[in-house]
Amino acid sequence: MEEHAIRRRDFLKLVGLGTVPLLLSDSARKVLALDQPKRYGLGEVGHKDIEAAREVRGVCAYCAVGCGIIFYRVGDRVIHVEGDPDNPINEGKLCPKGQASIELFGDHNPRRLRTPMIRVNPKPPLEEIKKVRSQEELRAVLEKYKPIWKPVTWEDAFEYISRRIKEILDEVGWDPRQSDGYYYFGKKFPVMIEAGAKLTNEEAYIIKKMAALMGSHNIDHDARRCHSTTVAGLAGTVGFGAQTQTFIDTQFISAYLIFGGNPAEAHPVSMRHTLRGKEKGTLKLIVVDPRYNRTASQADIFAFFRPGSDLAFLLYILHYAFWERNPPVDQLDTFKEYAQRFNVDLDEINEFKEIAKEYTAEEVSRITGIPVEKLRLIAQTFVENSGVTTGFKKFASIQWAMGMTQHHIGTQITRLSTLVQLTLGNMGFPGGGLNPYRGHSNVQGTTDMCILSHILPGYIKQPSSTLQIRVYQDWKNQGFPDAWNWEIPEWAGSAFGPNEKGKVNSTKVLWSWWFHNWRKFELTWGIFVGTDPESDPQNGTVISDIPFGAGYTENTWWQGALFDDVIKAAIIMAENPAVSNADTLTEYMALASLKLLVVVDLWETETATFADVLLPGAVQYEKYGSITNSNRWLQWQDRVVPPPGDAKPDLWIMLKLWEYFRKNGIVRLPSEVYGKSRENVLIKNPKKGEFVKLYERRVRVFMDYASGRYPDPDYAEADPELVYREIDIAVDLYNGMYDWVRHKILAKRRIPILRSEDQIDGILDRTYLMHKDWGWSWPKNVRILYNLWTLSKTLERTVTYRFPAGRYAVGPELDGQTVTITGETGEIRDSKTGDWRPAFIPGHNFVIGKFYKRAWSGKTDVFTGAVDPWRLLYDEEVVGKFVIFDENGDYRIVGLEEMGVRYPIAESFYYDPEVVFTGKASYKKPFFKGTKDLGDGRVVKYVGYYEWRQVKDAFSQELAQLAQSKGLKEAIIELKGKYGEWYAYPSPSNPSEIWAWDMRYPIHYEPAETICKELAYKYPAMAWRRAENFNLISPPKEDFRDLADTVNLTPEEMRAPEGAEVVVATTNRMVEHFHTGQLTRNLKLLAELVPEPFVEIPKPLADRLGIKPGDIVEVGNNRNRIYLRAMVTNRVPKLKIGPQEKEYFVVNMPWHWGWAGAHRTYGVVNTVSGIYMDTVTTMQETKTFLVYIKKASPDKYDYEPGEQNTPEVQLGR
């Protein structure tokens, strides 16, 4: 809502030219002897009346760098855009997409959707889509079924959608009554929701909340396809799956390895800070990539490498550090000290060292195609600029994006990057760490809010058994204790951690954290999770309004629709999977199979081709809300202008859908079906065993955000600030982003100056340009993750902080103590005083947030008695009730005042040194554990590397033998069948015990589709361990058996036409375009730069195939064939690979094109990419697959500029 008339002084401060009269140069005088040159008004050349404009600030809607952007508008027309000079991230700069943003507004873009529409003609039928195996065939089907739309009112659209969904739910008999309680299985809900990473945090939170309350975990978003493997690899190893540094901080890096990212194109403004280090001469930029991209043009060291050989390359860095370097890094004192700081066991390191030993420079060169000398130079540069080799004075860092993540072993690669940094002491310092740059403006936020099928907002586990609910009820009855005060009942078994009170391990801490968060959801959502009666957790009836289990992901849902017959409908908001999904023809089949598809978007997208209902959404600039950038900073977007016509922001659409869903009986909570309308909040007397009733809570679902506070009618009905407050309360990770003392949204904070030394984290803020008063950063406004030692080690100083006795809501470990602070602490508002106080003491650890102690553990509810979401959110009011037990078991119930609590919603947690040092990094992490009985007397046992290496050669040899006789695909099917598991082989001593590699450390795995057979046998792909991947080579349903023919694992399996060359293919994004192209192809400013689809072909290959620049080429494989322009270039390589060092070519395709909108083609690149999924997250392997390439006839090419192409609307029907 903040808006200013243009502040002329601000506008001027950019240059400081002012209006000082200018003296004339000699030449000018001469020329101007007759005339004074004309004086121009600001904007006169372009006919823009900038002086009359008002400015509105926001965050760029493209990538996740989080650049500040200012729009100038006159009335409802936006006339200009500039970068925000106050924003420390971009300092007034923008990339071409940010600059072109102006064309996203309805006034500039006639293509924007303006009214809800329902389809009036038939959709492309599954049977016809199923037969498509070429661009021509796809075009024929889709043109035959081109959508025709009828404009309708929002009311009609909502009624239609709810009626159809109700029919589907009735058909499947959707009901929460299970044999052992009242709850839903989240994977059985027949409607898939896909909600894009362009949503604000508030929208993301609401859509996940809505899905959960409908009983569904069939909800996911594009983060699945972009950084899911980053989150899994990092969180599973060091605590959180996010960038540890900030973009600004990259200037302090000493060696920056760009490996799987291309920031100059995908995150251009980030390069502003990185190049500052290079300019100063303190930063060495190393780019290792299959393409010489625009980032490579800035590299000090560049190497081409084969896509899919990432693990081998990173393993060589460790090989160098452990086996080539003298002395080896593990003999350094700094190494030992650092390992201790992360509680890494030295035995674990020894096992991993054995793996690294095998990856010599020569071997890795054969896998990656990087010459030995260059490999060594890179490893040396990286290792010698690392924390452990420089006494924590210099640091190396790794940047990546989709190049690293989009592999079927993506989680292993991101995890290996983390292990490299853990080994070399680079993590947890400014100038060092891990930099997964995220792609969408708010993909970090939508991931944090968990529009994901397997976790709740803030990365919270979803319940999966009634036992968990029973243990949770018992935990509640113990007074919502922290891990240290929790006594896990004996009947719970050992799965939740040590039963004894006071005894703590990571499992117990995590469960208490999850329980704590379930409680937050119960309170803020107005739902019930527990047993009835509450006093009998062991035998009472289990009721859970949070559904059980995990749902389908964006990459597996097509199997849910086609193979499992579960998914019958879908709602897709702000996403375009018809272009972005891998192996897109399978996506088209799934979309075509749906009884109902609702698409909410800015345009008629490719996905809308399959839709029944098309709803007009709003672009980020037309919304109010918070946006989290890639380095975890929250910033606020103000509405620049309302969306065009009758288009609406997603928050409004979601809440309306909810209203209609409620009205039509689509949402029926288990607690409602059971009739649980009150919760007795009981606390068990620790001495006497009886229950003390703390208060009674009304159970009534809360989704009421119509505050009337906004002048805009849509936002008056859907107040994003209320949702923002709810997120602060409900989502632990984001707690602290609202200032309950000053009633301020900290995402709106815009203080561009640095802190003074005496403020919290002031020294770090000044030294490393942290800008801690610009926006807010999770967790607890910490800017550099895991930053425990920067003060003590790098800057060689410390700070002390005193907790005056009795003042703060902290336990005896801190109360009245003076503590030494060694790193970044972050800050929180104290519950008792409302003061800012340091959060994490002494610095902070990698498990921060998850590990905490509670000042009032066992005495009260999580918000000291928050009972009613209405009163909590609207009035910021809680009913504070504490129970105080004495030693005899006598008790009294006291109020807030008596406890000295003034701000009960603020923080009552504390993090003392014990908490900080309890956590352990998972240097070793088996992804498979225990045994699996095959039922024929044989047992599969998941084993570590010492065992696995005894049988791995035999496994490879058997695979090679089978593959040579019947092909790799058949060999895999046979071998997995024979041993009951993939990557498994009988133990040498006991053939009935089958050893299966437990994946505890990353080793090299070849891509699912590999150009070199020998490597495929020696380092087989891991894909086939996951059922959904095995389904690809062995489809489980008769109707889809021939899908197996679309797989080509080796060049031999590919049906390539005469004269074609089989090559390794990779895909990329360009700076001029964005993802599926809808946000850029529809913008003339960007389409001017790169209008047509193309493939980058190495010059020698083009010469061999007779392909000239601009020729039309056919790119295909068993899945599909498409036609693109040829870009002939030396920027893609020819590499020597494999034991014979044979030469192979790599081609690259940007994937921004589809058939909808301007600059269209049916040659969708992802129709030839593969959908082999990550063994952990189901990430697709789009960064390496096999294609053939050949010259094609120009008439095959169907690209058209299509500037005038707008939706076909049938009026008056």
Partner: protein, 264 residues
Amino acid sequence: MAAGEKAILFTPDSCIGCRACQVACHVWNNTRPEVTDFSPTLTNPPDLLPNAWMILKYKEVGEGDSFDWLFFKRQCMHCSNAPCAEACPAGAIEVHPEGAVVIRQDKCIGCRYCVEACPYDVPRYDPITNKVYKCTMCIDRLQNGLEPACVSACPTDALVFGDYEELVSKYRAAGYEVYGDSVNDYVGRTHYVYATKRWSGKLTDPSYFGDHLSKDPRKTIVSFTKSVVKPIGWTLTGLTVIGLLGHLALWRSKRMEEVKKGGE
């Protein structure tokens, strides 16, 4: 040198080829983006247009370890001697004290003498409006205290703007090779300045940047004295194109003679 003289300095060393400058130029000046075709080099549109006042050129050089991918910004150089201004019979091209050379659209008569005179092949004639267009150095920003739009956009400071002498001497002192502050007698100095450390010696090498940055930029039609032609030009505004062309032919032969004389 007079105070107030400005320069835009481009260094390919820091350019990441993102083309924020190209889009910013369109947005500020409200010039229509061109509907282009596939470009085998990425450069698009392939050359300057009446509605494309700047482009970023891409060029691949060498192979293997000596491979280089060059990014190069191309637009009006804003010469101090401004041959275009001197050639303009209508007095439509003004040289501003900041160094900006600007075509006044209200005065341009579409005669294209400036096109003939420009050694960098910059001004572009639009037959629909019968006017010539080119980069204005964002004169309407400069005069109102703002940096040019392309500079303001550039994420990596490959484009910087400032006081001419200060900027040039700063980069020279930092070891950069600079093109522009003293080119030749035909253009004088340019207010678009190019600087590099990385490609030292290659700025005017035709296989690198030299196809744009000529060592000795010059056209056979040389400088055109305003004092002589301007009054004639004014009387010509209402005359026919044929008359104009006749004048051009006359003027050209006269100047050629002068050049010959001057050369002796």
